[in-house]
Symmetry: C2
Subunit: 515 residues, 2 copies
């Protein structure tokens, strides 16, 4: 069993008190990782003191080149990373490609954005403004890079993509990164950093890796530092109330739970292209990554008149999904990431079932390609509630697995909006309809409650990756339950790592300064 090491202060170092990482399909131990005894204050100082100045020295275009080199490194090691994700992540090859290719695509996109920003080292924010009758007294906002370190605490489900989407934005902004992957699936992120260090893709101190528990990492954060976290809302809240975070107004971005909804319009008759598009997206979100996507559709709102048909059609399409060891040919859905995730999903299914009934599948499943009783498997499960049911758990409890609930509604847009809004804030919801009036009403009604709304028209069925895919040019995050954060969104994502500052003074002096 190999011991994963952290990369801190410019060198590889093994921490104590390790946890064991396993193959979630077979429970075979693969590696161990611990952070006990590591000097994390010194690690942050090194990032701030070595990585920060080195990155700030570079222009945006040069930082973009670093990202391009990172993408290239990932692509060069694509097969190896996919194999690791299959073994340590319970990913099918298709799941693993989604993660690794998503990482490379995000890096490439931000590399291009960097090229577009050219030789600058700070961003000019908006036009200058006259502050008095005399045009000489002038104001101009800038966005300048913060002098601290960006700590990234990632979720277990996307060890490659989650790492890359946070790192790409921070590095392009000019902030050094300390990345902490979730321990259970850390092998992919660990290998990525190993590859990047081997290739000397980044200046010393620009990228550090902490494997194992977070230790006292966040207790050493200062006023120029930021934390971006993806995971449970409980952990998000724990980060927000840390004394160092409060005392220093450390910026915190949280991406947490979300009860993403898909709304089928009453015009989308069964058998229509729009209806098929909708079914395909629901099915993909239930089974891809075994439903372990923060953006996956959890609530399936369908006009009551077609609820039976939707249920039957989904059941028909779920039937051939083979669950088992993703290393085996033909398996279309792997296990959950950990035993505790499996147990929590099972408990969640029981909870949701109290709001209605289970109409397809069971929490128990006989996986193929593994010894009996081994692996953290849950089969796809479809539930359904009565039209108009209050269904408190369906609208408040995120089950992070291959689970969705059909929620019949009247077909009126206002009702769809009201029902979806019971989720109290989400990352993304979607509406499948060709009726422009219906779509507009639902989209505008849902907009304040979401970071993204997906318009599922047949017109984009061929090119669309569906609502469950995070795109680097669109914001990712959402209000309320979803954590209140915002990542990506093209250049918008940089703002989290930059300080907006207003310059106030003589126009010629300011204009010369920002040229």
């Amino acid at each position: 069993m190999i011991a994963l090491r952290s990369h801190l202060q410019g060198r590889w170092i093994e921490g104590g008190s390790p946890q064991v990482l396993v193959n979630p399909a077979t429970e075979e131990p693969l590696a161990q990782a611990g952070s006990g005894g590591l000097d994390l204050a010194a690690a942050l100082d090194f990032a701030r003191g070595a990585g920060g100045p080195a990155l700030r020295e570079l222009t945006f275009a040069q930082r973009g080149q670093l990202l391009a080199a990172m993408a290239e490194a990932l692509q060069a090691h694509r097969d190896e990373l996919i194999d690791l994700a299959v073994r340590n992540g319970g990913n099918t090859r298709s799941d693993a490609k989604f993660d690794v290719d998503g990482a490379a695509f995000t890096l490439t996109t931000y590399a291009e954005l960097g090229r577009g920003l050219g030789e600058a080292r700070f961003l000019v924010d908006g036009e200058g403004v006259s502050l008095a009758r005399s045009p000489r007294f002038h104001g101009q906002h800038l966005l300048v890079v913060r002098r601290g370190v960006a700590v990234h605490v990632n979720a277990f489900n996307f060890p490659a993509w989650g790492f890359a989407e946070k790192a790409a934005v921070a590095l392009l902004a000019g902030m050094p990164v300390v990345s902490k992957p979730a321990t259970s699936s850390a092998m992919v992120a660990h290998r990525i950093v190993e590859i990047l260090i081997e290739r000397q893709a980044l200046p010393a101190g620009a990228l550090s890796l902490l494997v194992g528990g977070p230790g006292d990492l966040l207790e050493h954060l200062g006023p120029q530092d930021v934390v971006a976290f993806t995971g449970s809302s409980e952990t998000g809240a724990r980060i927000r109330v840390m004394p160092a975070v409060l005392r220093n107004s450390v910026r915190v971005n949280v991406e947490a739970d979300s009860l993403n909804a898909a709304v089928l319009g009453p015009d989308a008759d069964p058998g229509s292209e729009t209806y098929d598009f909708f079914l395909k997206d629901v099915l993909r979100d239930m089974t891809q990554k075994a439903g372990q996507k923060c953006t996956a559709i959890r609530r399936v709102l369908v006009p009551a008149a077609v609820a039976d048909r939707v249920r039957d059609d989904l059941a028909d399409r779920l039937a051939p999904i083979t669950v088992g060891n993703p290393a085996q040919e033909g398996v279309r859905m792997g296990p959950l990431a950990t035993a505790s995730q499996r147990d929590e999903v099972r408990r969640g299914i029981d909870l949701l079932a109290r709001d209605g009934r289970l109409v397809y599948g069971a929490a128990d499943v006989k996986p193929v390609g593994v010894d009996p009783g081994r692996g953290f498997f849950v089969g796809p499960v479809l539930l359904e509630v009565e039209p108009g049911a209050e269904a408190p758990s369906v609208h408040s409890h995120e089950v992070f697995g291959p689970v969705a609930t059909i929620v019949p509604y009247s077909g009126r847009p206002a009702e769809a909006v009201e029902v979806v809004a019971r989720g109290r804030g989400g990352l993304v919801s979607s509406v499948y309809s060709e009726d422009a009036a219906f779509t507009t009403d639902v989209v505008m009604g849902l907009a304040p409650h979401h970071g993204r709304i997906f318009l599922g028209s047949a017109k984009i069925a061929e090119t669309s990756p569906g609502p469950g895919t995070v795109l680097p040019l669109l914001v990712h995050g959402g209000p309320g339950r979803a954590g209140g954060g915002e990542e990506l969104g093209g250049l918008r994502g940089l703002a989290f790592y930059l300080q907006r500052v207003a310059l106030e003074g003589p126009r010629p002096v300011i204009e010369r300064m920002i040229k």
Copy 2:
């Protein structure tokens, strides 16, 4: 003694457990205000349910008209409000005008911004983007108004301006406001709301007022609500850790402490225009509002070679400042707002004096126009530290009164930046110099640590209100110790009250939707 009432659920209502509001110059009781027993959950619901829809119905231009009417109402009652500020705020007439006129100016500025936004009800955020090779698959970000209520918790020092700068932005964005002034100086804010209600300047529920303590107001906040707070960092931290705030990811903006610095360049010889401009700004910030401005200069960085001269010049100019009852002719500085503020400022002066020495003034002062021993007075106090002194309190303890400390430095820009940055994040700092290279180095060095940098060149001396004045077109807020918030900044300020949402779908459908 009158009892101030709250305006909640569309009516005036008196709460229990009142506190007494006094004239801080004479300690004469003026009014009482309490919030005991008020149903604050219902008050928030009324704002959300009545005020929200009424405001969202309006276009930005129409909301701008509301702000223009508010400004007009303030101007019509200007003398009355100034009189109240003199009595209840300890303001000189000049201080009171600064507050009331600042309020009206901010409202007028946002009224104009609203007119510029025209008939829209949401903002289009950036250009649309192609999301695939096919240009049909399209993304577009919008900023849409949140469905909740904006709670504004204001500081005691600017009862008019503080109210208006928060309310203007929220109302223009389309969010209903519940405003809670600091109790000690609440009479001005109370009278403003009374005037606005009498004039029916706003739709029902768009503006509520809570006088007295905050009670359980913040325990009822939900995922679409926001809180903007100005005051101490301790209270800011208490708001951030409230269970409802954490659970619902309630947006919180904190504007807290700040050790604003003014840096005199080595080129600004005593007697030069730039030097005089610098002295004037330091003097204004020490004495205006008795130094009770969050943006006031606290640390005066001067080249060691001229430190003695600066000290003497400031002392000469402080000497004729008459301290006393601001209702009396000739008084140029009034008392602090409360007895506890006075005590805290006295303690703060003692603390700073340990870092160096007191060179002008004394915490004790003989105010004119009041009975002996009455009133919460502190005279202007100037301190000084040795060149290169660590001066931990000077760089960490904000004394919220007529107090500043001279900090001699070498004249090197890098040293100025390092010394100012010891403040760990501030609202505004300023640099007084005509040397473009020096100014640029200091400005760019200070930028990541501040929300605003003021370039004090003689070229703008005639039109400039100095660094201590918050301008509605520039952001107000700062990282770290300053709370990490951001207000105003023209249209930038609206973002706090809006939800950014990405629309993802067929280009023609999205383009029609946002027209």
